[in-house]
Symmetry: C2
Subunit: 600 residues, 2 copies
C-alpha cells in the first residue's frame, strides 16, 4: 500500500530556492515570521496529513454521505477533523491576526493545501470552503457579520459554503433566480433553489453558513442585479441560541468520486422563513464573488495537483517493487524479471506524471506569490502582480485539472490490471480528480476567460507582462550552456504564442466573437503548455545552480528535476505545434456545424 | 435518461457503402446469405441490445459480483441472457455451420458486437469470451474436444474463458508458471494460479471452460515451452455427469468499472485433482493463442468503441435538451437561454467524440474485412490480407481504447456537474472503458508489437502494403475537388510516417533496441492518428458521392459525416506534428533516467 503522497523536499525547493518566500519577511505584514516558523508550519501540516487525513482516504470514499432525516450524515471522522482544523489554526492560516488568523502568506498556505489535498482531497474541502466563505465575509461584510460568523468558522465549529449554482444557472450565472425580499429591518427573506453545493449540509458541524448569490426584488436583470448574502442553516436568535432557517436538503448527490464530501441540492425558504444578510452593497454580489474567484480557482488547481501527486507516488512505489518482464534486447528467460521502473515506457509514464505534478505546483506557488505581493505593493507594482495573477489564474485552474485526469490515468496504467482494482488507491484518485475540470468554472469557461477577457483586457497589458516575465526566465537560463537548447525552444514557443494571439485578435475583428472564441479551450491548452514550460525552465535554472553544493539525497532530487525538465521539453512542449496549426486555421468547423449535422 | 447508444444508419453506411460487405456474397462460403439476411441479423442484434442489454446497464453496475460460498454470484439476469445469446445464435454467429454456427462474416459479427458493447459492455463480455474460447477449441482441438465442449458453449450453457495471466506473468507471458503433469492417459494434471480471469467463474451457467496456458513438466523455458489446455470447472464423467475439477475461486476483484462481469483469481489443482486436456501439440500454446489474439484485440477495440458510442449519444441527447447561456456575442439577458449544443465548444466536444467513435468503428470493420478475406483467399492475396490485419491490429486495439477514455471524459464534460453524478450514465461509461488500455495487452505492449514486430517483419512488407492501401484512398479522393485539401494533408502525413519510420529503423541500428522501442507508445499514437485519418477520408469520399441522391434524413447524416471528417482533419490529425518532433529526436530521456532520478 502506498505511503507517500507528497514531497516535502520539492515544496521546500520551490518555496525557498525557486520562489524565495523569505523575501516576504522583509514586508512589515510578515516581519514577525521567519523561515524556521515556515518550516514548522509545513512540518505540522504534513504531519496532520500523514497521521489524520491520509489514513481516512479509502474509508471516506467507501462510506458515502447520506441524507438521513433531512440532514446529511457524513463520515464519522468529520467532527474531529473540523476540530483539528480549527484548533490547529489551519482554517484561519491566511487570515490576518486581527480576526484571529495566523497571517501566513498564500505561498505557505498553498503548500499546506498541497499536503492536505494530496493526502485526502475530500477531507481537505471542508476547511477550504469554510476559509473561502469566511474570507468573503471578512473582505466585504460589515463588522457585525464578521464578528458573528468569522470566529466560529475559523474555529471549525461552523462550515462555510459557496452557494452560487442553480438548476438553470451553472456556467451562466447571469440567470440566477434565487430571490431576496427586503424585510426593511436590515435583513432579507430569501427564496430559491441551489444545486451542487459542496458541504452544503452535514452533521459534522453545529451550523452551515452559505455565501449565497441572489437577486433583490426589483434588481436589474443579468449579472448586474446579483447580490451576495450570508444565509445560515441556523440563524442566531437574540439569546444566542440557534434556530432553523428554513433550508431543506432535497438531495445529496451520488458521485463518481470525491465521495468524502457531500454535494447537495438545497431548497431555500420554502416556508418563507429564510433570513439572509446582505454583504456589502446591493447588486455587487458577483463582483465580490469574483474577487474571491482567483483564490478558489487556484484552490481547484491545487486539488488537482495534490491528487495527481498522490497518484504519482503510489504508481512510483509500485513500479519500484513490481517485477515484470526483462529489458528490451535482454529477453533471455534465465535472467530474472526486473522491476517495471526499468522499462523505458514505464519511466515515461512516471516522468509524465512528475512533470505535471511539479510543473503545476510551481505555477500555483508562482500565482500565490503574485497574489501575496499584490496585497503588499502599490501603484504600478501592485498592478503588475494583479494582472499577472489574473492572466495566469485560468491556466493555473485548468492545466492541473485537465492534466490530473490524464496523469492519474497514467498512474492506473502503471499498475496494469491492479490499477483498475480497488485494492490499490489509484482508481480512486482517477475518480476523485475528474471533478476538477468541471467545478469552479469548467475548462471551457476558463478558456473564454483567458482569451475573451484576460488576454485582451487593458489593451493586452497582462499579456505583455506575461511575455516579459517569461523572457526574464529565458534570459536567466541563457547563461547556462546546458540549458540553451531548451531556452531557445521556449523563446520560439513564446514568439509563436504572440503570433497565434495576433492571429486570433485579427480573427475577432474579421470574423466576429463566436469564431474568435470557438477554440478558446485549445488556446488555453496551448498557453498552458508554454506556461508550464516556463515554470520548468525556472526550476531547471535553480536546480543547476544548486547541484554542485548539494548533498547526496538532494543531489539525486535535483538531478531528477533536470531529467523531468528534459522530459517536459522533449515530450510535452512539442504538443503546441499541433495546437498552433489548428489555432491559426480560419476554418470555423465547429461554429458552422448545425443541429442537423448531429442527426442520423 | 439516454435512449440511444448506437447508430444503425452508420453501421449500414459502413458495411454496405464504404466496405461493401456484399462482395463477400460472391464467395461460396457465404453464398447462401444475402443482404436482406444481413439486415435482419443486424436488426435482431439491435433489438436484443435495446430490449434486454441496455435496460440492465445501470443495474449490473450497482449489483457487483460477489464470492458466495466458493462460487461467484453474478447479476440474476445473467442466466437468461446466456440462454438468449445461445438460442439466438449470437455466440455461434461467426462459427461455420458444420459446428452449429451461423457462418456469418466477421464484418457482420463485428457490428453485432458494436451493438452489444454499446448497449451494455459487461453483458457483452460473457458471450464474447465464450465464442473466443470455443473458437480456439474448434481451430486447434481434436474432434473429441470439439464435440464435447463447443456445442454447449455455442448454446450458452457453458461459459468460456481465456486463462492466461498469472500473478507473476501479466505482460510477460514468458514467465507463466502453471504446471501440467502428463497422466499418460491423454490427460494432464494441472497446477497453478491464474489472475484477472474475466468470467472465470459464475453461477449463471452450468460449467466454465478455461482455455488455459501452462507448462508441461520438462518443457523448454520461456514462450517456447507453453502449452494450451482445456480445463473445465467441472469435468465430465463417463456417465455424462459433471464433477468438480478442483479449481477454487480465491478472489473476485472489486473494480473501477466494468462491474457487471466478474474478474477472478483462480487456484488450480490445489488438491492435485485438476484434469486438463491438451489442445494441439505440446509447447505450441502461445502460437495457438496468438492466432486468436487478433480477434480478441479487435474485440477490445470494439468494446472501447461501443462504450464511447453510448457516451457520445448520451451527451448528444443532453446537449440538445439542456438550456444554458447564450451564444458568444449575444449576451443579452432578455434572450432566452439556448440548448448547449449551440455553443461552439460543446459542438467541438461532440465532434471529437463522433470522430473517435465512427473513425474507430470504420477501422474495426476494415480489419474484419481483411480477416474475412484472409480466410477466403489464397497465395499473395491471402498474404496481403493477413499482413494488413497484422499491422493494423495493435492500432485497432489501442486507438479506440485510449481515445475512448478521452471521449467518455468529454461526454462527462458535456454534462458538467451532472456528468459527475450517478443520475446520468456517462460516469459509468467513463469508469467502464478505462479497462481497455489495460486488458489483452496494454497500450505499451501494443506499441512494441507495432514498432518492434509488425512494422519491421518480412522486411517491412506489411508496412509497405499499408502505405499502398492508404495511397489508394488518397487517389480516390483526389477526384473530388472539395476533398483535395485533406487528401494532400493525408499524403503529407503518410510521407512523414515513412520518414519517421526510416528514422526509427536507423536509430535501431545505431542506438540499439531499447532506444528504438522507448517511444513505441508514441509511435503507436502517431500511426493511429494517420490511420484514423485514412478511415475518415475513405468515408468522406463515399459520403460525398452519395449526397446528391440521398433522402432527407440520410442527407443530414452524410452532411454530418463531412463535418466530422472536417473536424478530424482540422483538430485531430495535426496532433501528429508534436509527436513527430519527439519521434525524430535522438535524446533518450527515458532510457537514460535512472532509479535515483525518481528519488527525493
Amino acid at each position: 500500500m502506498a505511503t507517500k503522497f507528497a514531497s516535502e523536499m520539492n515544496v521546500k525547493f520551490l518555496l525557498y530556492d525557486v520562489f524565495d518566500v523569505c523575501s516576504l519577511l522583509e514586508k512589515p505584514y510578515y516581519s514577525h515570521h521567519n523561515k524556521k516558523m515556515f518550516d514548522m508550519v509545513l512540518k505540522a501540516a504534513l504531519k496532520l496529513s500523514k497521521d489524520k487525513l491520509f489514513p481516512l482516504l479509502e474509508d471516506m470514499d467507501r462510506e458515502e454521505p447520506e441524507l438521513v432525516a433531512g440532514e446529511v450524515k457524513v463520515h464519522p471522522s468529520v467532527p474531529a477533523l473540523m476540530e483539528e482544523y480549527g484548533n490547529g489554526g489551519w482554517i484561519g492560516a491566511s487570515f490576518s491576526e486581527s480576526v484571529g488568523g495566523e497571517q501566513l502568506p498564500l505561498m505557505i498556505t498553498s503548500c499546506i493545501k498541497y499536503f492536505f489535498t494530496s493526502a485526502n482531497y475530500s477531507a481537505s474541502v471542508y476547511p477550504e470552503l469554510t476559509a473561502g466563505a469566511a474570507h468573503l465575509i471578512t473582505a466585504f461584510g460589515n463588522e457585525d457579520l464578521i464578528k458573528t460568523y468569522v470566529p466560529k468558522m475559523i474555529d471549525g465549529k461552523w462550515q462555510g459554503t459557496m452557494a452560487l449554482t442553480e438548476p438553470d444557472a451553472g456556467s451562466s450565472l447571469a440567470d440566477i433566480a434565487t430571490m431576496a425580499f427586503d424585510n426593511e429591518d436590515g435583513t432579507y427573506r430569501i427564496q430559491g433553489q441551489k444545486v451542487f453545493i459542496s458541504a452544503g449540509d452535514h452533521n459534522g458541524v453545529e451550523n452551515v453558513i452559505h455565501l449565497m448569490l441572489g437577486r433583490i426584488e426589483g434588481a436589474p436583470e443579468g449579472v448586474k442585479g446579483i447580490s451576495l448574502f450570508v444565509v445560515p442553516k441556523k440563524r442566531i436568535q437574540a439569546d444566542g441560541t440557534l434556530i432553523n432557517n428554513d433550508i431543506t436538503v432535497s438531495q445529496v448527490f451520488h458521485k463518481l468520486g470525491y465521495k468524502g464530501a457531500p454535494i447537495t441540492e438545497l431548497v431555500v425558504g420554502e416556508q418563507g422563513e429564510t433570513i439572509g444578510y446582505l454583504i456589502g452593497e446591493p447588486h455587487k454580489g458577483l463582483f465580490y464573488m469574483f474577487q474571491m474567484m482567483n483564490e478558489s480557482r487556484l484552490g481547484v488547481g491545487m486539488g488537482a495537483t495534490g491528487i495527481a501527486s498522490a497518484a504519482y507516488y503510489a504508481s512510483l512505489e509500485y513500479a519500484k517493487e513490481r517485477l515484470q518482464g526483462r529489458k528490451s534486447g535482454q529477453k533471455k528467460i534465465d535472467q530474472s524479471q526486473v522491476p517495471i521502473i526499468e522499462h523505458a515506457d514505464v519511466k515515461r509514464m512516471l516522468l509524465f506524471q512528475r512533470s505535471i505534478v511539479e510543473g503545476s505546483l510551481a505555477l500555483l506557488i508562482q500565482c500565490a506569490k503574485y497574489a501575496d505581493f499584490a496585497t503588499l505593493t502599490e501603484g504600478e507594482e501592485k498592478e503588475k502582480n494583479d494582472l499577472l495573477l489574473d492572466i495566469l489564474t485560468p491556466i493555473a485552474k485548468s492545466y492541473p485539472s485537465e492534466m490530473s485526469v490524464l496523469s492519474t490515468s497514467q498512474a492506473v496504467q502503471c499498475l496494469g490490471g491492479y490499477g483498475y482494482c480497488k485494492d490499490f488507491p489509484v482508481e480512486q484518485y482517477y475518480r476523485d480528480t475528474r471533478i476538477h475540470p468541471i467545478h469552479e468554472g469548467t475548462t471551457g469557461i476558463q478558456g473564454m476567460d483567458l482569451l475573451g477577457r484576460k488576454v485582451i483586457m487593458k489593451e493586452g497589458k497582462a499579456f505583455q507582462l506575461y511575455l516579459e516575465v517569461v523572457k526574464e526566465t529565458i534570459l536567466s537560463a541563457g547563461e547556462a550552456p546546458t540549458l540553451q537548447g531548451q531556452a531557445k525552444q521556449l523563446a520560439n514557443a513564446l514568439q509563436q504564442l504572440e503570433e497565434v494571439t495576433a492571429f486570433k485578435i485579427i480573427q475577432r475583428a474579421e470574423r466576429g466573437v463566436e469564431v474568435f472564441l470557438a477554440d478558446a479551450t485549445l488556446y488555453l491548452e496551448y498557453f498552458g503548455l508554454i506556461t508550464i514550460g516556463w515554470q520548468w525552465l525556472k526550476q531547471a535554472v535553480v536546480a543547476l545552480k544548486m547541484i554542485p553544493e548539494a548533498k547526496k539525497n538532494q543531489r539525486d532530487f535535483l538531478a531528477g528535476k533536470q531529467v523531468t525538465f528534459n522530459y517536459f521539453f522533449a515530450y510535452e512542449l512539442p504538443k503546441i505545434q499541433g495546437l498552433a496549426i489548428r489555432l491559426m486555421d480560419n476554418e470555423a468547423v465547429t461554429v458552422e456545424a448545425g443541429l442537423s449535422d448531429f442527426s442520423d
